[in-house]
Amino acid sequence: MLVVLLSSVPTVGAAPSPAQVTAVQQKIATAFVAVQQAESRGGNVAGLTASLNQAVQLLQQAEQTSSPSQAATFLAQASSIAGNVTAEAPAVGAQGAAAVQNGLIITGVEVAAIAAACVLVYLYLPRLFWRLWERTHSDWEAKSK
């Protein structure tokens, strides 16, 4: 049995309708899924998540305020931000995919360069080593006992 209540729960009649709140919640959830998809493609979603957090905050403010007009304003703003995030996410994902592809190309070039270095070292390092050894030991004299 519950013995206490948080007084911050909005009173009946002052809060936005559940349908309105649910619609915005779903819009934010849709935006979040779009953000996750953009991130999975390699996109930098820091800006999108910051915007999404704004929408989440506005939704909470709409649920807590006792003013119906303020609640409607907050919900409209949250809905607008979530819509923008959903719209921008594919572009961020595409940028990420392009960056990932460039990264793969760079990695391929790095691997090829390292392989080439391996071959060069294998072929020329011993010769170089002995040449240097000869230079540094050119003053050595052979003695016989």
Binding site: V3, L5, L6, A46, T49, V56, E63, I114, V121
Partner: protein, 160 residues
């Protein structure tokens, strides 16, 4: 003989370097064991000084901490619920009452959230259980699911 030894050592060193150059950045960016964090801190942002007795209508402040280490961005909701000593809540079972207050946040991987939350209670009671549960949004079910994390504090709420 020395030439062959030298070649062998050089090749091994270069191959080792190549493997590290490619492998370390790849593996360091992977999340081996994904998890989330939930914490309720006292008014001084510490795991201490939690209120134990409050009067009805008296504001008290706690800090809500959430950490995302899931390897990707996550959408969390923390539900504040009220129960009694007899209420059932565990890592597997959430408290079966409607949330009285909800805190939402979207966090990037390895991002944390720390915000003050101000509460006050209207009804008096002994050993009131204030439970905070962490829920996470799952795209495949299009809903929030209990993330097996909860914190709780017990309060005596006295009437003024």
């Amino acid at each position: 003989v020395i030439d062959d030894d030298l070649r062998g050592v050089a090749i091994v060193l270069i191959l080792l370097f190549a493997v590290m150059a490619i492998g370390i950045p790849y593996y360091s960016s992977r999340t081996v064991e994904p998890f989330s964090e939930l914490g309720i801190l006292g008014p001084n942002k510490q795991i201490a000084d939690y209120p134990t007795s409050v009067a009805t209508g008296e504001n008290f402040t706690l800090y809500l901490y959430v950490g995302n280490h899931q390897g990707q961005a996550e959408y969390y909701q923390v539900y504040a619920k009220l129960g009694t000593q007899a209420s059932v809540v565990s890592d597997n079972v959430s408290l079966a009452v409607a949330p009285l207050k909800t805190y939402g946040m979207v966090l990037l991987n390895n991002q944390t959230y720390l915000q003050p939350i101000s509460l006050h209670l209207n009804q008096p009671g002994q050993n009131v259980r204030l439970v905070f549960e962490l829920w996470i949004y799952q795209a495949n079910s299009s809903s929030f699911v209990y993330d097996h994390r909860f914190n709780q504090i017990f309060l005596n709420v006295s009437s003024i």
